[in-house]
Symmetry: C2
Subunit: 303 residues, 2 copies
Protein backbone atom coordinates (compact mmCIF):
# COMPACT_ATOMS: atom_id res chain seq x y z
CA UNK A 1 0.00 0.00 0.00
CA UNK A 2 1.07 3.56 -0.63
CA UNK A 3 -0.52 6.96 -0.57
CA UNK A 4 -0.86 7.50 -4.32
CA UNK A 5 -4.42 8.50 -5.14
CA UNK A 6 -5.40 8.45 -8.79
CA UNK A 7 -7.49 11.14 -10.47
CA UNK A 8 -8.52 8.35 -12.82
CA UNK A 9 -7.15 4.98 -13.89
CA UNK A 10 -6.20 3.76 -17.37
CA UNK A 11 -6.33 0.05 -18.19
CA UNK A 12 -5.23 -1.86 -21.27
CA UNK A 13 -6.75 -5.31 -20.76
CA UNK A 14 -5.81 -7.71 -23.50
CA UNK A 15 -6.09 -11.43 -24.15
CA UNK A 16 -3.04 -12.41 -22.12
CA UNK A 17 -2.09 -9.32 -20.09
CA UNK A 18 -3.58 -6.46 -18.10
CA UNK A 19 -1.80 -3.14 -17.60
CA UNK A 20 -3.04 -0.36 -15.33
CA UNK A 21 -1.82 3.19 -14.79
CA UNK A 22 -2.75 5.58 -11.98
CA UNK A 23 -3.17 9.02 -13.59
CA UNK A 24 -2.68 12.22 -11.57
CA UNK A 25 -4.22 15.71 -11.66
CA UNK A 26 -1.79 16.87 -14.35
CA UNK A 27 -2.61 13.81 -16.54
CA UNK A 28 0.75 12.43 -15.41
CA UNK A 29 1.43 8.76 -14.64
CA UNK A 30 1.69 8.28 -10.88
CA UNK A 31 2.07 4.51 -10.87
CA UNK A 32 1.94 1.45 -13.14
CA UNK A 33 1.13 -2.19 -12.50
CA UNK A 34 0.69 -5.19 -14.72
CA UNK A 35 -0.56 -8.73 -14.45
CA UNK A 36 -0.79 -11.77 -16.70
CA UNK A 37 -4.44 -12.22 -15.78
CA UNK A 38 -5.56 -11.68 -19.36
CA UNK A 39 -9.12 -11.85 -20.64
CA UNK A 40 -8.73 -15.41 -21.86
CA UNK A 41 -8.16 -16.80 -18.37
CA UNK A 42 -11.01 -15.01 -16.61
CA UNK A 43 -14.68 -15.71 -16.05
CA UNK A 44 -17.04 -12.75 -16.23
CA UNK A 45 -17.30 -12.45 -12.43
CA UNK A 46 -13.52 -12.48 -11.99
CA UNK A 47 -12.76 -9.22 -13.80
CA UNK A 48 -13.77 -6.90 -10.96
CA UNK A 49 -11.75 -8.72 -8.24
CA UNK A 50 -8.69 -8.88 -10.54
CA UNK A 51 -8.97 -5.19 -11.32
CA UNK A 52 -9.43 -4.24 -7.67
CA UNK A 53 -6.44 -6.27 -6.56
CA UNK A 54 -4.29 -4.26 -8.97
CA UNK A 55 -5.68 -0.77 -8.39
CA UNK A 56 -7.22 -0.78 -4.90
CA UNK A 57 -4.34 1.10 -3.27
CA UNK A 58 -4.84 3.94 -5.78
CA UNK A 59 -8.50 4.53 -4.80
CA UNK A 60 -9.75 7.35 -2.61
CA UNK A 61 -12.44 5.84 -0.36
CA UNK A 62 -14.37 9.11 -0.25
CA UNK A 63 -15.05 9.34 -3.99
CA UNK A 64 -15.81 7.34 -7.13
CA UNK A 65 -12.75 6.84 -9.35
CA UNK A 66 -13.20 6.38 -13.09
CA UNK A 67 -11.44 3.49 -14.82
CA UNK A 68 -11.10 3.72 -18.61
CA UNK A 69 -10.37 0.30 -20.13
CA UNK A 70 -9.66 -0.87 -23.66
CA UNK A 71 -8.84 -4.19 -25.30
CA UNK A 72 -10.25 -7.70 -25.36
CA UNK A 73 -11.86 -7.07 -21.97
CA UNK A 74 -14.75 -5.76 -24.10
CA UNK A 75 -15.10 -8.89 -26.23
CA UNK A 76 -18.03 -11.27 -26.06
CA UNK A 77 -15.95 -13.61 -23.87
CA UNK A 78 -14.71 -10.69 -21.75
CA UNK A 79 -16.17 -8.68 -18.86
CA UNK A 80 -19.00 -7.00 -20.73
CA UNK A 81 -19.47 -7.03 -24.47
CA UNK A 82 -19.00 -3.60 -26.02
CA UNK A 83 -20.52 -3.44 -29.52
CA UNK A 84 -18.06 -2.52 -32.29
CA UNK A 85 -17.99 0.82 -34.10
CA UNK A 86 -18.06 0.41 -37.88
CA UNK A 87 -15.56 1.83 -40.36
CA UNK A 88 -15.29 4.53 -41.47
CA UNK A 89 -15.40 5.93 -37.93
CA UNK A 90 -13.50 7.91 -35.34
CA UNK A 91 -11.39 5.45 -33.36
CA UNK A 92 -13.13 6.30 -30.07
CA UNK A 93 -16.70 7.58 -29.91
CA UNK A 94 -17.50 8.61 -26.35
CA UNK A 95 -21.19 8.02 -26.85
CA UNK A 96 -20.43 4.37 -27.42
CA UNK A 97 -18.61 3.50 -24.21
CA UNK A 98 -20.02 0.59 -22.23
CA UNK A 99 -20.15 0.64 -18.45
CA UNK A 100 -19.38 -2.54 -16.54
CA UNK A 101 -21.68 -3.64 -13.75
CA UNK A 102 -19.48 -3.27 -10.64
CA UNK A 103 -20.15 -4.03 -6.97
CA UNK A 104 -17.51 -1.85 -5.39
CA UNK A 105 -18.92 1.68 -5.07
CA UNK A 106 -15.49 3.29 -5.31
CA UNK A 107 -15.11 2.62 -9.02
CA UNK A 108 -16.94 3.16 -12.28
CA UNK A 109 -15.50 1.26 -15.23
CA UNK A 110 -16.00 2.39 -18.84
CA UNK A 111 -14.97 0.11 -21.71
CA UNK A 112 -13.90 1.43 -25.11
CA UNK A 113 -15.49 -0.44 -28.05
CA UNK A 114 -13.44 -2.08 -30.77
CA UNK A 115 -13.83 -1.33 -34.47
CA UNK A 116 -15.32 -3.58 -37.12
CA UNK A 117 -15.18 -3.47 -40.89
CA UNK A 118 -17.87 -5.17 -42.96
CA UNK A 119 -16.19 -5.70 -46.32
CA UNK A 120 -13.71 -7.24 -46.17
CA UNK A 121 -14.65 -8.41 -42.69
CA UNK A 122 -12.15 -7.35 -40.05
CA UNK A 123 -12.05 -6.51 -36.36
CA UNK A 124 -9.84 -4.80 -33.77
CA UNK A 125 -10.06 -4.30 -30.00
CA UNK A 126 -7.46 -2.16 -28.29
CA UNK A 127 -5.69 -0.80 -31.36
CA UNK A 128 -8.49 1.78 -31.86
CA UNK A 129 -7.39 3.37 -28.58
CA UNK A 130 -3.76 3.55 -29.69
CA UNK A 131 -4.83 5.01 -33.02
CA UNK A 132 -6.93 7.57 -31.19
CA UNK A 133 -3.94 8.49 -29.02
CA UNK A 134 -1.68 8.79 -32.05
CA UNK A 135 -4.18 11.06 -33.82
CA UNK A 136 -4.46 13.21 -30.68
CA UNK A 137 -0.74 13.81 -30.89
CA UNK A 138 -0.78 14.32 -34.66
CA UNK A 139 -3.83 16.41 -35.48
CA UNK A 140 -4.78 16.30 -39.12
CA UNK A 141 -2.72 13.17 -39.80
CA UNK A 142 -3.47 11.45 -43.10
CA UNK A 143 -1.68 8.24 -43.92
CA UNK A 144 -0.90 4.76 -42.68
CA UNK A 145 -0.33 3.41 -39.21
CA UNK A 146 0.80 -0.16 -38.60
CA UNK A 147 0.33 -1.82 -35.20
CA UNK A 148 2.56 -4.91 -35.03
CA UNK A 149 1.42 -7.65 -32.66
CA UNK A 150 -0.09 -11.12 -32.51
CA UNK A 151 -2.62 -9.77 -35.01
CA UNK A 152 -0.90 -6.89 -36.77
CA UNK A 153 -3.13 -4.09 -38.09
CA UNK A 154 -2.44 -1.90 -41.13
CA UNK A 155 -4.68 1.13 -40.90
CA UNK A 156 -5.61 3.93 -43.30
CA UNK A 157 -6.35 7.15 -41.46
CA UNK A 158 -7.86 10.34 -42.81
CA UNK A 159 -9.82 13.25 -41.36
CA UNK A 160 -9.44 11.85 -37.87
CA UNK A 161 -11.10 8.59 -38.88
CA UNK A 162 -10.15 4.98 -39.47
CA UNK A 163 -11.16 4.66 -43.10
CA UNK A 164 -10.15 1.01 -43.54
CA UNK A 165 -7.79 -1.59 -42.09
CA UNK A 166 -6.41 -5.06 -42.60
CA UNK A 167 -5.27 -7.62 -40.01
CA UNK A 168 -2.42 -10.09 -40.55
CA UNK A 169 -2.12 -12.91 -37.99
CA UNK A 170 1.60 -13.21 -38.68
CA UNK A 171 2.55 -13.06 -34.99
CA UNK A 172 0.20 -15.89 -34.10
CA UNK A 173 1.53 -17.96 -37.02
CA UNK A 174 5.09 -17.39 -35.80
CA UNK A 175 4.02 -18.70 -32.39
CA UNK A 176 2.26 -21.87 -33.54
CA UNK A 177 4.92 -22.70 -36.14
CA UNK A 178 7.72 -22.26 -33.57
CA UNK A 179 5.93 -24.25 -30.90
CA UNK A 180 3.70 -26.82 -32.60
CA UNK A 181 5.32 -27.92 -35.89
CA UNK A 182 8.43 -29.95 -36.68
CA UNK A 183 10.28 -26.65 -36.98
CA UNK A 184 10.36 -26.48 -33.18
CA UNK A 185 13.19 -29.02 -33.31
CA UNK A 186 15.34 -26.61 -35.34
CA UNK A 187 14.68 -23.15 -33.87
CA UNK A 188 16.03 -21.48 -30.75
CA UNK A 189 13.72 -19.86 -28.17
CA UNK A 190 15.39 -16.47 -28.18
CA UNK A 191 18.59 -15.96 -30.21
CA UNK A 192 18.87 -13.72 -33.24
CA UNK A 193 20.80 -13.46 -36.50
CA UNK A 194 20.15 -10.24 -38.36
CA UNK A 195 21.53 -11.48 -41.69
CA UNK A 196 19.23 -14.53 -41.66
CA UNK A 197 16.28 -12.31 -40.73
CA UNK A 198 16.97 -10.05 -43.71
CA UNK A 199 17.40 -12.99 -46.08
CA UNK A 200 14.06 -14.28 -44.81
CA UNK A 201 12.44 -10.88 -45.49
CA UNK A 202 13.63 -10.89 -49.11
CA UNK A 203 12.63 -14.50 -49.75
CA UNK A 204 9.21 -14.16 -48.08
CA UNK A 205 8.52 -10.93 -49.96
CA UNK A 206 9.70 -12.21 -53.35
CA UNK A 207 8.21 -15.70 -53.17
CA UNK A 208 5.21 -15.71 -50.85
CA UNK A 209 3.80 -18.78 -52.60
CA UNK A 210 6.81 -20.77 -51.42
CA UNK A 211 6.18 -20.07 -47.74
CA UNK A 212 5.14 -23.64 -46.82
CA UNK A 213 8.23 -24.91 -48.63
CA UNK A 214 10.58 -22.32 -47.16
CA UNK A 215 9.31 -23.23 -43.71
CA UNK A 216 10.04 -26.91 -44.27
CA UNK A 217 13.49 -25.90 -45.52
CA UNK A 218 14.36 -24.66 -42.02
CA UNK A 219 14.01 -28.23 -40.78
CA UNK A 220 15.77 -29.68 -43.82
CA UNK A 221 18.64 -27.17 -43.60
CA UNK A 222 19.18 -28.09 -39.97
CA UNK A 223 19.38 -31.79 -40.87
CA UNK A 224 21.26 -31.53 -44.16
CA UNK A 225 23.51 -28.52 -43.55
CA UNK A 226 23.46 -28.14 -39.75
CA UNK A 227 21.72 -24.79 -39.86
CA UNK A 228 22.15 -23.02 -36.54
CA UNK A 229 19.02 -22.62 -34.34
CA UNK A 230 19.33 -18.84 -34.10
CA UNK A 231 19.59 -18.63 -37.87
CA UNK A 232 16.49 -20.79 -38.24
CA UNK A 233 14.49 -18.69 -35.78
CA UNK A 234 15.51 -15.44 -37.44
CA UNK A 235 14.84 -16.76 -40.94
CA UNK A 236 11.39 -17.93 -39.80
CA UNK A 237 10.64 -14.48 -38.46
CA UNK A 238 11.91 -12.84 -41.64
CA UNK A 239 10.02 -15.20 -43.96
CA UNK A 240 6.67 -14.62 -42.27
CA UNK A 241 7.15 -10.86 -42.05
CA UNK A 242 8.34 -10.78 -45.67
CA UNK A 243 5.14 -12.49 -46.79
CA UNK A 244 3.09 -9.96 -44.79
CA UNK A 245 5.01 -7.04 -46.30
CA UNK A 246 4.25 -8.45 -49.74
CA UNK A 247 0.52 -8.58 -48.93
CA UNK A 248 0.55 -5.15 -47.28
CA UNK A 249 2.37 -3.37 -50.13
CA UNK A 250 -0.53 -1.08 -50.93
CA UNK A 251 -0.23 0.29 -47.38
CA UNK A 252 3.47 1.09 -47.30
CA UNK A 253 4.76 1.47 -50.88
CA UNK A 254 3.91 5.16 -51.10
CA UNK A 255 3.71 5.98 -47.42
CA UNK A 256 6.02 6.66 -44.53
CA UNK A 257 4.44 4.24 -42.05
CA UNK A 258 4.11 4.94 -38.34
CA UNK A 259 4.69 1.81 -36.27
CA UNK A 260 2.92 1.55 -32.90
CA UNK A 261 3.76 -1.60 -30.98
CA UNK A 262 6.26 -3.22 -28.64
CA UNK A 263 9.76 -1.93 -29.29
CA UNK A 264 11.04 -5.38 -30.28
CA UNK A 265 8.33 -6.06 -32.84
CA UNK A 266 8.25 -2.50 -34.15
CA UNK A 267 11.98 -2.67 -34.72
CA UNK A 268 11.52 -5.86 -36.75
CA UNK A 269 8.90 -4.17 -38.90
CA UNK A 270 11.09 -1.10 -39.25
CA UNK A 271 14.05 -3.23 -40.36
CA UNK A 272 11.89 -5.32 -42.65
CA UNK A 273 10.46 -2.26 -44.37
CA UNK A 274 13.91 -0.71 -44.67
CA UNK A 275 15.33 -3.82 -46.33
CA UNK A 276 12.58 -3.56 -48.95
CA UNK A 277 13.01 0.17 -49.48
CA UNK A 278 10.10 1.25 -47.28
CA UNK A 279 10.10 4.07 -44.76
CA UNK A 280 8.81 3.97 -41.21
CA UNK A 281 9.25 5.37 -37.73
CA UNK A 282 8.24 4.21 -34.27
CA UNK A 283 5.65 5.84 -32.05
CA UNK A 284 5.48 4.83 -28.38
CA UNK A 285 2.82 2.22 -27.65
CA UNK A 286 2.37 3.45 -24.08
CA UNK A 287 2.02 7.08 -25.14
CA UNK A 288 -0.56 6.06 -27.74
CA UNK A 289 -2.58 3.96 -25.29
CA UNK A 290 -2.53 6.56 -22.51
CA UNK A 291 -3.30 9.46 -24.82
CA UNK A 292 -6.24 7.54 -26.30
CA UNK A 293 -7.73 6.65 -22.93
CA UNK A 294 -6.97 10.13 -21.58
CA UNK A 295 -8.90 11.92 -24.30
CA UNK A 296 -11.80 9.52 -23.82
CA UNK A 297 -11.74 10.29 -20.10
CA UNK A 298 -11.51 14.04 -20.68
CA UNK A 299 -14.40 14.03 -23.13
CA UNK A 300 -16.45 11.98 -20.69
CA UNK A 301 -16.06 14.30 -17.74
CA UNK A 302 -16.50 17.44 -19.84
CA UNK A 303 -19.83 16.22 -21.24
Amino acid sequence: MNDIKAKWIAADWGTTHMRAWAIGEEENVLAFRESNEGMKDLQQNEFEPVLLRLIESWLDDTKVTTVMACGMVGAKQGWVETPYLKTPCVPIDNNQLTTANTHDKRIIVHLVPGVMQNHPADIMRGEETQISGFINKNKGFKGVVCLPGTHAKWVNIQEGQISSFKTFMTGELFGVISNHTLIRHSTSIKGWNQESFEEGIHEGFNNPGLIASNLFSLRAESIVNNMDRDQARSTLSGLLLGVELNGAQSYWKDNNVTLIGSELLSNNYHQGLKVLGGQSQLFSLETATLSGLSSAYTNLVSD
Copy 2:
Protein backbone atom coordinates in the same frame (compact mmCIF):
# COMPACT_ATOMS: atom_id res chain seq x y z
CA MET B 1 -4.22 -66.38 -35.20
CA ASN B 2 -4.68 -67.85 -38.62
CA ASP B 3 -2.73 -70.00 -41.00
CA ILE B 4 -1.54 -67.31 -43.39
CA LYS B 5 2.19 -67.62 -43.85
CA ALA B 6 3.90 -64.75 -45.61
CA LYS B 7 6.60 -65.15 -48.26
CA TRP B 8 7.76 -61.75 -47.08
CA ILE B 9 6.27 -58.79 -45.25
CA ALA B 10 5.95 -55.18 -46.38
CA ALA B 11 5.80 -52.38 -43.80
CA ASP B 12 5.17 -48.67 -44.18
CA TRP B 13 6.12 -47.24 -40.80
CA GLY B 14 5.53 -43.53 -40.56
CA THR B 15 5.50 -40.88 -37.87
CA THR B 16 2.01 -41.64 -36.62
CA HIS B 17 1.00 -44.96 -38.20
CA MET B 18 2.36 -48.37 -39.08
CA ARG B 19 0.92 -50.52 -41.88
CA ALA B 20 1.97 -54.09 -42.62
CA TRP B 21 1.08 -56.46 -45.45
CA ALA B 22 1.67 -60.23 -45.63
CA ILE B 23 2.82 -60.94 -49.19
CA GLY B 24 2.30 -64.38 -50.76
CA GLU B 25 4.20 -66.49 -53.31
CA GLU B 26 2.54 -64.72 -56.23
CA GLU B 27 3.45 -61.27 -54.80
CA ASN B 28 -0.20 -61.02 -53.79
CA VAL B 29 -1.45 -59.44 -50.55
CA LEU B 30 -2.58 -62.18 -48.16
CA ALA B 31 -3.39 -59.97 -45.20
CA PHE B 32 -3.14 -56.38 -43.95
CA ARG B 33 -2.88 -54.87 -40.49
CA GLU B 34 -2.34 -51.39 -39.18
CA SER B 35 -1.60 -49.71 -35.91
CA ASN B 36 -1.26 -46.15 -34.64
CA GLU B 37 2.05 -47.01 -32.99
CA GLY B 38 3.95 -44.55 -35.15
CA MET B 39 7.66 -43.80 -34.96
CA LYS B 40 7.13 -40.71 -32.83
CA ASP B 41 5.67 -42.66 -29.91
CA LEU B 42 8.28 -45.44 -29.77
CA GLN B 43 11.64 -45.87 -28.10
CA GLN B 44 14.30 -47.71 -30.06
CA ASN B 45 13.78 -50.97 -28.18
CA GLU B 46 10.03 -50.91 -28.72
CA PHE B 47 10.05 -51.25 -32.51
CA GLU B 48 10.69 -55.00 -32.62
CA PRO B 49 7.97 -55.92 -30.09
CA VAL B 50 5.45 -53.67 -31.87
CA LEU B 51 6.32 -55.19 -35.22
CA LEU B 52 6.12 -58.73 -33.89
CA ARG B 53 2.72 -58.14 -32.29
CA LEU B 54 1.39 -57.13 -35.69
CA ILE B 55 3.01 -59.77 -37.90
CA GLU B 56 3.78 -62.75 -35.65
CA SER B 57 0.87 -64.84 -36.89
CA TRP B 58 2.19 -64.51 -40.46
CA LEU B 59 5.61 -66.01 -39.59
CA ASP B 60 6.69 -69.57 -40.40
CA ASP B 61 8.64 -70.78 -37.35
CA THR B 62 10.86 -72.97 -39.53
CA LYS B 63 12.34 -70.16 -41.61
CA VAL B 64 13.51 -66.54 -41.56
CA THR B 65 10.96 -64.13 -43.04
CA THR B 66 12.15 -60.91 -44.62
CA VAL B 67 10.46 -57.64 -43.62
CA MET B 68 10.95 -54.67 -45.96
CA ALA B 69 10.17 -51.40 -44.20
CA CYS B 70 10.09 -47.78 -45.35
CA GLY B 71 9.26 -44.46 -43.75
CA MET B 72 10.23 -42.53 -40.65
CA VAL B 73 11.15 -45.81 -38.94
CA GLY B 74 14.56 -45.16 -40.53
CA ALA B 75 14.99 -41.65 -39.10
CA LYS B 76 17.53 -40.73 -36.44
CA GLN B 77 14.78 -40.91 -33.80
CA GLY B 78 13.45 -44.19 -35.27
CA TRP B 79 14.50 -47.86 -34.99
CA VAL B 80 17.83 -47.63 -36.75
CA GLU B 81 19.06 -44.63 -38.69
CA THR B 82 19.33 -45.32 -42.41
CA PRO B 83 21.55 -42.73 -44.12
CA TYR B 84 19.87 -40.78 -46.92
CA LEU B 85 20.57 -41.24 -50.63
CA LYS B 86 21.41 -37.97 -52.36
CA THR B 87 19.68 -36.52 -55.42
CA PRO B 88 19.98 -37.17 -58.27
CA CYS B 89 19.47 -40.84 -57.42
CA VAL B 90 17.31 -43.85 -58.01
CA PRO B 91 14.55 -43.81 -55.41
CA ILE B 92 15.64 -47.15 -53.90
CA ASP B 93 19.22 -48.39 -54.07
CA ASN B 94 19.37 -51.96 -52.77
CA ASN B 95 23.00 -51.62 -51.76
CA GLN B 96 21.96 -48.95 -49.29
CA LEU B 97 19.40 -50.85 -47.22
CA THR B 98 20.02 -50.91 -43.49
CA THR B 99 19.35 -54.01 -41.42
CA ALA B 100 17.82 -53.63 -37.97
CA ASN B 101 19.35 -55.48 -35.06
CA THR B 102 16.59 -57.99 -34.13
CA HIS B 103 16.38 -60.57 -31.35
CA ASP B 104 13.73 -62.84 -32.83
CA LYS B 105 15.45 -65.28 -35.21
CA ARG B 106 12.35 -65.66 -37.37
CA ILE B 107 12.69 -62.21 -38.95
CA ILE B 108 15.22 -60.11 -40.76
CA VAL B 109 14.22 -56.45 -41.17
CA HIS B 110 15.60 -54.26 -43.95
CA LEU B 111 14.94 -50.52 -43.92
CA VAL B 112 14.78 -48.41 -47.08
CA PRO B 113 16.73 -45.14 -46.84
CA GLY B 114 15.13 -41.77 -47.46
CA VAL B 115 16.38 -39.27 -50.02
CA MET B 116 18.14 -35.99 -49.32
CA GLN B 117 18.82 -32.99 -51.52
CA ASN B 118 21.69 -30.64 -50.70
CA HIS B 119 20.70 -27.44 -52.49
CA PRO B 120 18.10 -26.37 -51.70
CA ALA B 121 18.12 -28.62 -48.64
CA ASP B 122 15.26 -31.09 -48.59
CA ILE B 123 14.45 -34.55 -47.25
CA MET B 124 11.95 -37.38 -47.71
CA ARG B 125 11.43 -40.73 -45.97
CA GLY B 126 8.79 -43.06 -47.33
CA GLU B 127 7.89 -41.18 -50.49
CA GLU B 128 10.99 -42.57 -52.24
CA THR B 129 9.42 -46.02 -51.96
CA GLN B 130 6.16 -44.85 -53.50
CA ILE B 131 8.07 -43.11 -56.27
CA SER B 132 10.01 -46.31 -56.89
CA GLY B 133 6.76 -48.25 -57.08
CA PHE B 134 5.24 -45.74 -59.48
CA ILE B 135 8.30 -45.91 -61.74
CA ASN B 136 8.15 -49.72 -61.68
CA LYS B 137 4.66 -49.49 -63.09
CA ASN B 138 5.57 -46.73 -65.56
CA LYS B 139 8.94 -47.62 -67.04
CA GLY B 140 10.65 -44.71 -68.74
CA PHE B 141 8.42 -42.14 -67.05
CA LYS B 142 9.65 -38.57 -67.33
CA GLY B 143 7.72 -35.85 -65.56
CA VAL B 144 6.30 -34.74 -62.25
CA VAL B 145 4.84 -36.68 -59.36
CA CYS B 146 3.19 -34.99 -56.39
CA LEU B 147 2.74 -36.82 -53.09
CA PRO B 148 0.19 -34.93 -50.98
CA GLY B 149 0.47 -35.38 -47.22
CA THR B 150 1.49 -33.65 -44.01
CA HIS B 151 4.64 -32.70 -45.91
CA ALA B 152 3.70 -32.76 -49.59
CA LYS B 153 6.45 -33.56 -52.07
CA TRP B 154 6.69 -32.30 -55.66
CA VAL B 155 9.17 -34.48 -57.51
CA ASN B 156 10.90 -34.27 -60.89
CA ILE B 157 11.61 -37.72 -62.32
CA GLN B 158 13.73 -38.63 -65.31
CA GLU B 159 15.66 -41.69 -66.43
CA GLY B 160 14.38 -43.65 -63.45
CA GLN B 161 15.82 -41.13 -61.03
CA ILE B 162 14.60 -38.46 -58.64
CA SER B 163 16.33 -35.46 -60.16
CA SER B 164 15.02 -32.88 -57.68
CA PHE B 165 12.13 -32.28 -55.30
CA LYS B 166 10.49 -29.72 -53.07
CA THR B 167 8.54 -30.21 -49.84
CA PHE B 168 5.61 -28.02 -48.75
CA MET B 169 4.44 -28.42 -45.15
CA THR B 170 0.95 -27.27 -46.09
CA GLY B 171 -0.74 -30.22 -44.37
CA GLU B 172 1.02 -29.56 -41.09
CA LEU B 173 0.12 -25.86 -41.32
CA PHE B 174 -3.53 -26.78 -41.87
CA GLY B 175 -3.36 -28.87 -38.71
CA VAL B 176 -1.78 -26.31 -36.41
CA ILE B 177 -3.88 -23.44 -37.75
CA SER B 178 -7.10 -25.45 -37.29
CA ASN B 179 -6.17 -26.65 -33.82
CA HIS B 180 -3.93 -24.04 -32.23
CA THR B 181 -4.91 -20.57 -33.49
CA LEU B 182 -7.97 -18.39 -32.96
CA ILE B 183 -9.36 -19.86 -36.19
CA ARG B 184 -10.23 -23.01 -34.25
CA HIS B 185 -13.22 -21.11 -32.87
CA SER B 186 -14.59 -20.63 -36.39
CA THR B 187 -13.89 -23.89 -38.24
CA SER B 188 -15.66 -27.25 -38.18
CA ILE B 189 -13.80 -30.50 -37.55
CA LYS B 190 -15.04 -32.26 -40.67
CA GLY B 191 -17.64 -30.58 -42.87
CA TRP B 192 -17.01 -29.42 -46.42
CA ASN B 193 -18.17 -26.71 -48.83
CA GLN B 194 -16.77 -27.16 -52.32
CA GLU B 195 -17.52 -23.60 -53.44
CA SER B 196 -15.64 -22.13 -50.48
CA PHE B 197 -12.72 -24.49 -51.11
CA GLU B 198 -12.50 -23.32 -54.73
CA GLU B 199 -12.74 -19.65 -53.74
CA GLY B 200 -9.91 -20.30 -51.30
CA ILE B 201 -7.82 -21.91 -54.05
CA HIS B 202 -8.19 -18.85 -56.29
CA GLU B 203 -7.49 -16.35 -53.52
CA GLY B 204 -4.49 -18.28 -52.14
CA PHE B 205 -3.06 -18.71 -55.62
CA ASN B 206 -3.61 -15.11 -56.72
CA ASN B 207 -2.60 -13.38 -53.48
CA PRO B 208 -0.18 -15.60 -51.55
CA GLY B 209 1.21 -12.56 -49.71
CA LEU B 210 -2.20 -12.02 -48.12
CA ILE B 211 -2.31 -15.47 -46.54
CA ALA B 212 -1.89 -14.25 -42.92
CA SER B 213 -4.63 -11.71 -43.56
CA ASN B 214 -6.95 -14.13 -45.35
CA LEU B 215 -6.57 -16.53 -42.44
CA PHE B 216 -7.57 -13.86 -39.94
CA SER B 217 -10.53 -13.05 -42.18
CA LEU B 218 -11.99 -16.49 -41.46
CA ARG B 219 -12.32 -15.46 -37.81
CA ALA B 220 -13.51 -11.97 -38.70
CA GLU B 221 -16.07 -13.28 -41.21
CA SER B 222 -17.48 -15.61 -38.58
CA ILE B 223 -17.89 -12.71 -36.13
CA VAL B 224 -18.98 -9.99 -38.55
CA ASN B 225 -20.94 -11.96 -41.13
CA ASN B 226 -21.69 -15.26 -39.35
CA MET B 227 -19.60 -17.32 -41.75
CA ASP B 228 -20.52 -20.97 -41.45
CA ARG B 229 -17.93 -23.33 -39.87
CA ASP B 230 -17.86 -25.69 -42.84
CA GLN B 231 -17.27 -22.74 -45.15
CA ALA B 232 -14.43 -21.53 -42.95
CA ARG B 233 -12.78 -24.96 -42.86
CA SER B 234 -13.05 -25.41 -46.61
CA THR B 235 -11.80 -21.89 -47.32
CA LEU B 236 -8.84 -22.52 -45.00
CA SER B 237 -8.00 -25.71 -46.88
CA GLY B 238 -8.35 -23.94 -50.24
CA LEU B 239 -6.30 -20.91 -49.20
CA LEU B 240 -3.34 -22.99 -48.02
CA LEU B 241 -3.43 -25.29 -51.04
CA GLY B 242 -3.80 -22.29 -53.36
CA VAL B 243 -0.64 -20.75 -51.90
CA GLU B 244 1.20 -24.06 -52.39
CA LEU B 245 0.00 -24.31 -55.98
CA ASN B 246 1.32 -20.80 -56.57
CA GLY B 247 4.73 -21.79 -55.22
CA ALA B 248 4.74 -25.12 -57.09
CA GLN B 249 3.79 -23.64 -60.47
CA SER B 250 7.04 -24.66 -62.13
CA TYR B 251 6.15 -28.28 -61.36
CA TRP B 252 2.62 -28.38 -62.76
CA LYS B 253 2.20 -25.58 -65.31
CA ASP B 254 3.49 -27.64 -68.23
CA ASN B 255 2.98 -31.11 -66.83
CA ASN B 256 0.20 -33.59 -66.30
CA VAL B 257 0.90 -34.35 -62.64
CA THR B 258 0.52 -37.80 -61.08
CA LEU B 259 -0.85 -37.58 -57.54
CA ILE B 260 0.11 -40.35 -55.10
CA GLY B 261 -1.47 -39.99 -51.67
CA SER B 262 -4.58 -40.64 -49.63
CA GLU B 263 -7.69 -40.46 -51.78
CA LEU B 264 -9.11 -37.54 -49.82
CA LEU B 265 -6.01 -35.37 -50.09
CA SER B 266 -5.24 -36.40 -53.66
CA ASN B 267 -8.77 -35.41 -54.65
CA ASN B 268 -8.25 -31.97 -53.09
CA TYR B 269 -5.05 -31.52 -55.07
CA HIS B 270 -6.75 -32.78 -58.22
CA GLN B 271 -9.63 -30.31 -57.73
CA GLY B 272 -7.26 -27.49 -56.86
CA LEU B 273 -5.16 -28.03 -59.96
CA LYS B 274 -8.27 -28.31 -62.12
CA VAL B 275 -9.64 -25.01 -60.82
CA LEU B 276 -6.37 -23.35 -61.89
CA GLY B 277 -6.25 -25.04 -65.28
CA GLY B 278 -3.78 -27.77 -64.29
CA GLN B 279 -4.01 -31.44 -65.18
CA SER B 280 -3.54 -34.40 -62.89
CA GLN B 281 -4.56 -37.96 -62.21
CA LEU B 282 -4.46 -40.20 -59.17
CA PHE B 283 -2.22 -43.23 -58.68
CA SER B 284 -2.96 -45.63 -55.81
CA LEU B 285 -0.83 -45.00 -52.74
CA GLU B 286 -1.02 -48.64 -51.67
CA THR B 287 -0.03 -49.92 -55.10
CA ALA B 288 2.91 -47.53 -55.15
CA THR B 289 4.11 -48.50 -51.68
CA LEU B 290 3.78 -52.25 -52.26
CA SER B 291 5.36 -52.14 -55.69
CA GLY B 292 8.30 -50.17 -54.33
CA LEU B 293 8.92 -52.53 -51.42
CA SER B 294 8.30 -55.55 -53.65
CA SER B 295 10.96 -54.60 -56.18
CA ALA B 296 13.41 -53.91 -53.34
CA TYR B 297 12.64 -57.37 -51.96
CA THR B 298 12.98 -59.05 -55.35
CA ASN B 299 16.30 -57.36 -56.04
CA LEU B 300 17.52 -58.35 -52.62
CA VAL B 301 16.79 -62.07 -52.94
CA SER B 302 18.01 -62.21 -56.56
CA ASP B 303 21.41 -60.74 -55.60
